[in-house]
């Protein structure tokens, strides 16, 4: 969930060497410390059920519960070079459902999108659902086969990211 601000690439550094040292010395490696810099910025959030949300982070807490404003859910269908969007308004996301989040560079975010075809959201959502169902079926079948040998293969329907 933390943005990695390791050694910045030359010419592209967001922080100076001095500041990077500060990070290492006093950085608390806490959720808050990692997220606070993204407040009032556009971020993307990947949820455990595979959803991608884009929105402006307004506030958060130590559990990474987030409040996103002007939130948009985007489904990418990379095999067919398509995508779909759905406006969702204000979202409160419970922290435990977040896989990762990060800032979006609003200048660059449209670049890949112009090369993709935008399709209606219902259609994309249907495709995603079908893919997820197929995946769930194959994984639960695998789980049942493993169970016959006394092995556990746990796959939860709510964790398809």
């Amino acid at each position: 969930m933390s943005e990695s601000r390791g050694s910045p690439a030359p010419g592209k550094s967001k922080i100076t060497e001095g500041e990077a040292d500060l990070y290492l010395d006093q950085y608390n490696f806490t959720t808050t410390a990692a997220i606070v810099g993204s407040v009032d910025r556009k971020i993307f959030v990947l949820l455990r059920d595979g959803r991608m949300l884009f929105g402006i982070l307004r506030t958060f807490d130590q559990y990474a519960n987030l409040i996103l404003q002007h939130c948009v859910e985007r489904i990418y269908i990379t095999e067919e070079n398509k995508y779909a969007e759905n406006e969702c308004g204000v979202f409160m996301v419970r922290g435990e459902n977040v896989v990762m989040l990060g800032e979006v560079d609003i200048d660059k975010e449209d670049e890949p999108l112009v090369q993709m075809e935008q399709i209606p959201f219902e259609e994309a959502s249907q495709m995603k659902q079908e893919r997820d169902d197929a995946r769930y079926k194959s994984e639960s079948q695998k789980g049942r086969q493993m169970a016959r040998y006394g092995l556990i293969h746990d796959f939860h329907k709510s964790d398809i990211y």
Partner: protein
Amino acid sequence: MSEPSNQHQKRKFEGPKREAIINLGKYTDKHVRVKLMGGRLVVGVLKGYDQLMNLVLDETVEYMRDEEDDTVIKKDSTRELGLVVMRGTMLLTLSPADGSECIVNPHLE
């Protein structure tokens, strides 16, 4: 998640509550529908409860689920459990079973 250090704010800006937010007394001797962690759905008459939301349910009925996908409840298939003590930690949702109206899902037809 309480914020004792934000007490100066509490005077002006109400913080989250600490007592139980649902009064289960009003559901005693009524049918309640309880969803449990792990996907079970159970309906019973609420006989007792405590502040941890442990429940005592009588005439309890469990609704069975699809073999393939255990998130889908089969509405017609049930099994009787009788008098049951339910752990509050496993409770996910609780609602009155009376006063609930089933809207037929138009997509299923």
